[in-house]
Amino acid sequence: MSDQTDGEKRSRFELTLPMKASVVVVTAVILGGFVFMLYETTNMTPPILPGYPGDSFFPRLVLIFGIICAVTILVKAMLKARGTQLATGESSTFSLHWLEFLTVCVLVFCYGVLLVPVGFEIMTTVLMLALLGPRMAAGSNHPARSLGYAVLLSLATTAFTYVGFGLLLRIQLPLLFLPRYLYY
């Protein structure tokens, strides 16, 4: 598959969003979060030690600082003329390939949740295969052969991670059938 064809296919799943409006929306959400967290500081333990300002003192300082920064961005956006950018040299739009983004998120989420019940060996091989397979097959003249390589590479990566992290660094990987220690 050529890059151009690939690009055409991907474009259907690509969102192009206005930069300024997106910054404003995200900043407003962060500002809301800061205000909520500031309210949360009222539930924190009062100071007991003489001189110690209390658990809520530093978070409040940080949150007030964060709120000032967020408000500055929003005020700047309101004062700027329509069509101009918030910062110099910034593009007016940005693109996000939402399908690819979501796929990666879902794969890693499933890996995290299923790692313990299913086992490290299967989950790692499946994750690597799911990520490597389509990438190696795309742009290849022999997709089947590339998929075969992807399987081999996934198995090798799982073995390498097991030896490196599990055996040498003694990290307690949730293993399904591989031995936790090798005696020699």
Partner: protein
């Protein structure tokens, strides 16, 4: 003087042993490998290798662990430069220019600058220690809680103001990082922002934040923008590439002032208990930018941007040993483990050690000079191998970076929760970068947050809540004024640039 010479001869004869040399070489090799793994900072590496020292003599054990310590600091910058995945907080600063340079097809050059700077930093700080010795330990102790608080604020003023295109977005990122740092136990018995979730009781682990915010967006870019096929843009034929990747005499001349400043700052940061590599690297980078004639080029892949944090980062190692050996105060987690090894072997650190076991102290520091030499040799040999990573097609590299991130997050506490945490942070950081909100200030603020807060709280407790008594101390006041000036300057500079662009457009 005579006793100094006797100690020196004794130290040299101890080091003139094949076993000791092989032990140090092994420490360097293991340290580079561990440092290159996300989540394995010097403390983790030393803790992991602590049991290995049980069968060693005290000289062997200390030199082995110091070799690991030094090599971890260098090793962590390799993935930071090649795949934007720093192994430690200190090398997070190296990402800025190191990765940018690697992206221009100059990964070999970036690795070499990092190596030379690291070795020079380590060597210079060791020489400073041999000359200045215990007096430096006492100077460092002049930095009380108020001064450390001010140093942290100054660092963040630089980080927030000068990263990215818009200072207000940089400072917003600083706010987010500081807020993340307050999650969990307050250190004074209280809990903050845990929302009754057990996994938040200890806060968000540093390793999760580092790899989530720095390596995460890169992994997503590699996976999502998979049409790109090569890492660095290889420009020209092989001979041209070799020429472009060389570190020339002109580079060395350019970097000498950077190395001097970075070495001094790194040694000082190491000598101050609690400051450590992250503070040293950040201070060195900020100062370099302040002194530079081309501050706007920082972050685009310039040699000074790599040399400054690397030289300071490695200078911290000998600096950390100053309060550890001379006063018995560990300057970092790694130094605490080293002290543990010394005590377990019957050596009691403190001023008396310098009088009664001068030969041992000199063995450690001359050994550190040798370790830096070994690091240089191993690094030169290894650079070509490490830079092979830049030839791997990006769409293939992406899954491996993602697996490294996931494995690093899991390895921290063998918990799947950290995988989910790192995923959330990766996605958030990726979107932040899309919106030109810089992510590096988040990480640096997260690292500096506890240092700033604990020192502020300690200072307030000592002065019974009188903040003016803290900020009116001469060193503290000077640093805070510098921080304020830096923050104001960043906004003024943004406005000037905007005006200039508007005039050009007209």
């Amino acid at each position: 003087m005579d006793s100094y010479l006797v100690d020196m001869v004794a130290a040299l004869s101890t080091l003139n042993s094949l076993t000791i040399i092989l032990t140090m070489l092994a420490g360097v090799g293991i340290g580079i490998v561990l440092g290159a793994l996300p989540g394995f900072g010097s403390s983790q590496a030393l803790a992991l290798l602590f049991p290995v020292t049980f069968a060693m003599t005290v000289d062997q054990a200390v030199l082995f662990l110091i070799a690991v310590y030094s090599a971890v600091e260098y090793g962590s910058s390799i993935p930071a430069i090649l795949i934007r995945t720093p192994g430690t907080g200190a090398s997070a600063v190296t990402v800025l220019d190191g990765y940018a340079m690697a992206q221009q097809g100059l990964s070999h050059r970036a690795l070499r600058i990092s190596l030379y700077s690291g070795v020079i930093g380590g060597t210079t700080s060791t020489i400073i220690f041999i000359i200045a010795g215990t007096s430096l330990g006492y100077v460092a102790l002049a930095f009380g809680p108020g001064e450390l608080f001010a140093v942290g604020v100054f660092g963040l003023a630089i980080v927030g103001g000068f990263f990215g295109k818009d200072a207000s977005r940089g400072f917003l990122a600083v706010g987010i990082g500081l807020l993340f740092a307050t999650i969990g136990s307050s250190g004074f018995g209280g809990l903050r922002f845990t929302f009754n979730q057990a996994y938040l009781l200890d806060g968000i682990p540093l390793v999760v934040v580092i790899i989530g915010f720095l390596a995460g967006p890169e992994a997503f870019r590699l996976l999502v923008d998979n049409r790109r096929t090569a890492a660095g843009k290889a420009v020209g034929n092989r001979a041209e590439q070799k020429e472009r990747n060389r570190v020339t005499r002109a580079d060395v001349r350019l970097l000498i002032p950077t190395w001097i400043r970075g070495s001094l700052l790194g040694t000082l940061a190491g000598a101050i208990p609690g400051a450590g590599g992250s503070v040293g690297a950040l201070l060195a980078y900020s100062e370099e930018k302040r002194w530079s004639k081309r501050p706007e080029k920082f972050g685009t892949g310039i040699p000074e941007g790599i040399a400054a944090p690397e030289v300071a980062n490695n200078a911290v190692v000998a600096g950390t040993l100053v309060p550890s050996l001379s006063l018995g105060i560990p300057g970092s987690g790694g130094a605490a483990i080293l002290l543990g090894v010394l005590i377990s072997k019957g050596v009691v650190p403190g001023p008396i050690m310098f009088q009664q076991q001068g030969d041992f102290v000199l063995t450690v520091f001359i050994g550190l000079l040798l370790i830096n030499l070994f690091l240089l040799i191993v690094g030169i040999v290894g650079t070509s191998t490490f830079s092979l990573v830049s030839r791997v097609p990006l769409r293939i590299l992406g899954p491996f970076v993602l697996l490294l991130i996931v494995a690093g997050a899991y390895a921290y506490a063998n918990s799947y929760v950290h995988i989910i945490m790192v995923l959330v942070l990766c996605a958030f950081a990726y979107l932040m970068e899309k919106l030109n909100i810089p992510v590096v200030p988040v990480v640096l603020a997260f690292i500096m947050g506890p240092i700033i807060e604990s020192n502020l709280s300690r200072g307030l407790t000592i002065t019974r809540g009188d903040i003016f008594e803290i900020i009116s101390r001469p060193i503290t006041a000077t640093i805070l004024v510098m921080a304020l000036a830096a923050a104001i300057y960043s906004f003024v500079s943004n406005m000037r640039q905007a005006r200039r662009e508007t005039q050009n457009a007209d």
